[in-house]
Amino acid sequence: MKDFPQTVDAYADPAAPHPDTRSPAAYLWWLVRDQGVLFLAALLVAIVWMIPQALAPWMLGRAIDQAIVPHDNAALVRWLALFALVTVVGASSGFVYHTLAVRQWLVALYGTTQLVTNKAVRLGHVLTRRAPSGEVLSVASSDSNEFGGFMEITVRAASQAVAYVIVAVLVLVTSPRLGVLVLLAAPAVVVLALPLLRPLGARQALERSRTSTLTSMATDIVAGLRILRGVGGEERFADNYARASQSARDAGISAGRWQAAVDGVGVLLSGLLLTGLLWAGVREVGAGRLTVGEFVSFLGYGLFMTQPLRSFFELVQKGTRALVSAHRTVALLDQPVPWSDDPTEVALPAAATAELTDLATGFTARPGRLTMVVCADPERTAALADRLGRYLPTEESAQVQLAPDAELKGRAARTERRRQRERRATLAAQERALTSTSWGVTLGGVDLGEVPLDAVRERVLVCDTGPTVFAGTLQDALDPHRRLSLAEAEEALVAASAEDVLDALPEGWQGQVEERGRGLSGGQRQRLTLARALALDPDVLVLVEPTSAVDAHTEARIAARLGGFRAGRTTVVMTASPLLLHHADEVTLLAPEPSPHPGTDATVYRVVATGTHRDLWSHHLDYRSVVSRTEEVQR
């Protein structure tokens, strides 16, 4: 039987079965099937737990009729014993049911969280192109909880449906007339109350969405607190927050009004049911068709029946929310990877002898050398770095939301959902087009697009401008693969001139680095990620502006150490800093060229000069102006 925390391998292990993402309903059904025996066991125990409650009114009636009224002590003892037995069995199954319900909830919750993790890892840099990370995270943090709740209510409602059937049989056997009344009136009561649930659900959704807006506002205020306290604007933002807070309050009161209406109508309807029962029951007793005990049983059922009804309300509400959550989840999990991962025959040649060439710009990095690339437009060198590492271009504008805004309703929401689905499909098609033909970057003559992506990642490491520092010990931050010796780690640390990070932590290598390197200065973060990249010691290392946040003293030290550390390996650095350029084996200048295809306005950047920093500085005017311009930024 499944238990938490289980291990989920879908999207990580190709052999592991994937969830069914053909539709939101299919995903919910898959979640149920995925629980397997656990679901059935929980259902069984829930039924055992419900039965005493369903049987209690009946036994009470029998006891009154057969033992209490006729003063039959032997029968009384018999009935009491049976009643006690059933009651104790039911009561002691309570904690087993609770245990299984918690398991169900957490298997669904933790499972979905792991699916999101696996999918995020599987998609890698493509994920940030496609979906806003906030939405991806909300699938893991809030939608997964909805699924847990859905599992619990499904079992509870199903067990109560069974209880309902048991009661139905009992009342039909006792009195067909009243039985029919109970059986028909109870569902009728549900149907009558159903129309209220939809507006209630809509208002609750609005309240949730406004509350989450509030949370983001507060987070935003905290994130920008230095500015608000430093430059001003506290009043303005406090007022903005107060306005949003009041509108969340209004939404909450509006949802509360509908909830009060649903509860009030629930009381009224179950009261009507009870009244009908007692009216008809007393008449039946009077006519001699029903005993007093049976009548008492019916009254008990009249009260008991409200319980399955309430669970049914809950099932409808939570089911609707789970479907909304499943929409978002499916939109995330269904995203395809833009390239195939089939192993190919082609292998990358040994890098020590292989040139890295970009066909579009004509850029070439010679094996084992330190090459630096200068361009007046830093976006171009960043794009070149992406191409060298076979990364799809970063386009945040391409992102598609996973679900429509919570304030959209009905048809508008459906239209928006369809539009999002279509945009996702278009985006995926564009990406496939980018990756299906040759990539346009070769290592030793082999196009990077012809080998599996993992083989490229193994050989070529591209560090973009914003690498993430993960929380953990400093040792893990520098050596995430746990393969380095102390000496190697120190060498990398010193090459990146990041000794101060080690020095600042009283626990040294075992000191904790906070998530995303919070608590380190911008410069420390940058040097730590540089040290991490150097320590990995890839065949080809591409660095984008590796010292942009580092002070001149330190930059000079890094520049002096970088070449020695990378000796014999291919290194490409995108930079315009003279301190670094000075140490390059070879410097390449990228500049715009008139488009070879007249009529297309896209400027093509190509390599226009190659040489040492000193050569280019003295002989190439464009180069000189690009490098010196960065020097004059703050004049």
Binding site: V88, V121, P132, V222, G233, R249, G286
Partner: protein
Amino acid sequence: MSVRSDARPSGRGSDLLRDDLAHHSASTWDPTRHGAHERAVPPELVPPPRTVGLVRRLRALRTRHLLRRRRAEHFVAGAMSPDRGLPIATARQVVTFLGELLGRRRGLLVAVLLLNAGAALASLFVPRLLGDLVDRTASLLALGRGSEAGDTATRAALVVLAVVALQAALTFGAKLASAVLGQGVLAEARESVVRAILRLPLSRVEQAASGDLVTRVTRDAGTMSDGVRWALPEAIIASVMVLLTVVAMVLNSPLLALPTLVLMGAATLQVLRYLRRAPAAYLLEGDTYSRINTSLTETVEGARTVEALRLGQRRRDAGRRDIAVSGQAERYGMTLRNLLFIVMDLAFSLPRVLTLALGAIGYERGWVGLGQITAAMLYIEAVWGPFDMLVHTIDRLQVALASTTRLLGVAIVPADREVGSDRPADPAIAGRDLRFAYRAEHDVLHGVSLDLTPGERLAVVGPSGSGKSTLGRLLAGINGPRTGSVTVGGVEITTLPLDVLRTEVSLVTQEHHVFVGSVRDNVGLARDGSTDAEVEQALRSVDAWSWVESLPAGLDTTLGAGHQSVSPGRAQQIALARLVLADPHTLVLDEATSLIDPRTAQHLEGSMNALLTGRTVVAIAHRLHTAHDADRIAVVIDGRVAELGSHDELVALDGEYARLWEAWTS
């Protein structure tokens, strides 16, 4: 990627570090972690195999439960210890605070209580009516007048119908009033917390870690919100219900109420034990979920880094470890609840049997009637639902209380400065004999004195950790010095009220946060009551006006995450426009080159120039050209000004600066 071939045995250092650091490094490096997988939970928390006997397994479960309890209590002690980060309010302060909030809504509170009591009374009336009906029907039957039952039924039905209608109306009113009360209290509470955050002292805000504060405004605010919105009203309803049902039971028949009272009393002991333990369990659970969230956030936002460094398996393992830890917290809570449920379920269901037995005996002796038995049985069913609800709302309220102590803690941070009445006579800033320490006994500045000439451009250069940023913060009035003084126009800078200080000097860091809000709010925040024309002027002067004009709603366009996206370059322009609007005569630029992202450098040259023109500028420089262009350069090394003078003077001095300059230009 291959490990370097010249690998030395791990554990031996590289001889590259200075002696004390090399020792620090070698003594903290853990060579045993090679290929090791971290254990998420200690082995004592792994249950024994199912093959061992039940008694041993139960004993092992008890051991695990106690260990989990220690872990939960340890966590709470840590989270509630005031020496870490921001302070935590006392429970008494929270109660006072809530008391004030409720006190302002006394009428509503009374309405909530009365309406709930009314609804409860109405609902308690129904079982009595039904009991009477049973009695009457039975006696009619006994007298052989069963044919009259129809009239009795109609009369009784009408009465019950009226009571039910009243109960429905009162329920509606009670729930609505509770919602209005809960939402009102919640809104006021969260608004006052945000205002408290916006009053935090400058020096406190500038301390790096904002994580604690983020947790407080997200998770703690959420827990408080659940508590106030849901638990508080339901707790009121449930306690009214329990109290009145018990009274109704005793009124119906003290004898038949006996089993319920005794067992409820016995269960209360276990309930109290549970309530003492439960908050720690819930707080720990909440914390483990935010850990799962935090590390998943890293995985998702750093998806590219994960891919580039091939950390996929590591990140999946990390996620699985977080979940394993969370599972342990959940298991603690689950066992606590199971221990509660075993007792509660028995205490809930046994009264049915016992009451029926007592009822039978009582009926035999003529002490009670059938109607009383019926009503008693119906009351038993009616009392436990609210009792159960009461237990659950109280544990939620306890959790909410704990969160609220953390939220209100923000409000009790003491102010870091006393405002005086003197105002600066002129814009000259002077620092005298400045010393400062973040940790006691560890001065990072050792008696620095520095006069700024109005209108000059002073560059501060020096290696990382030399104290140049600290010097900047003292000059900008963020922190007060330990000894010595910083004055502007002859007035101690930390005695100026903030709105005056901001017009004197601003600290500009590498941060360029764009708030979710309109362009107007984003820029106009720098000066209260600024007009659209002033905001436009500020944006024009940093060359950002044409961009704003091109936005769909101009100044009203909402910027930030989830709305109009803002490129880093635009974000920097917004940051600069704020400063133009704030218009301080002195700017302290810390890591200003980081503010100017190299990717956008060329677009920003003009914007930056517009800001700096006509102001005194202290530039803590990363780039030497900044120093080259400055009027004076201060070289700060080890907390002292080692060299001070113009570029030419310092090059002629042939010291630290001259050496660096040579490296830059050679």
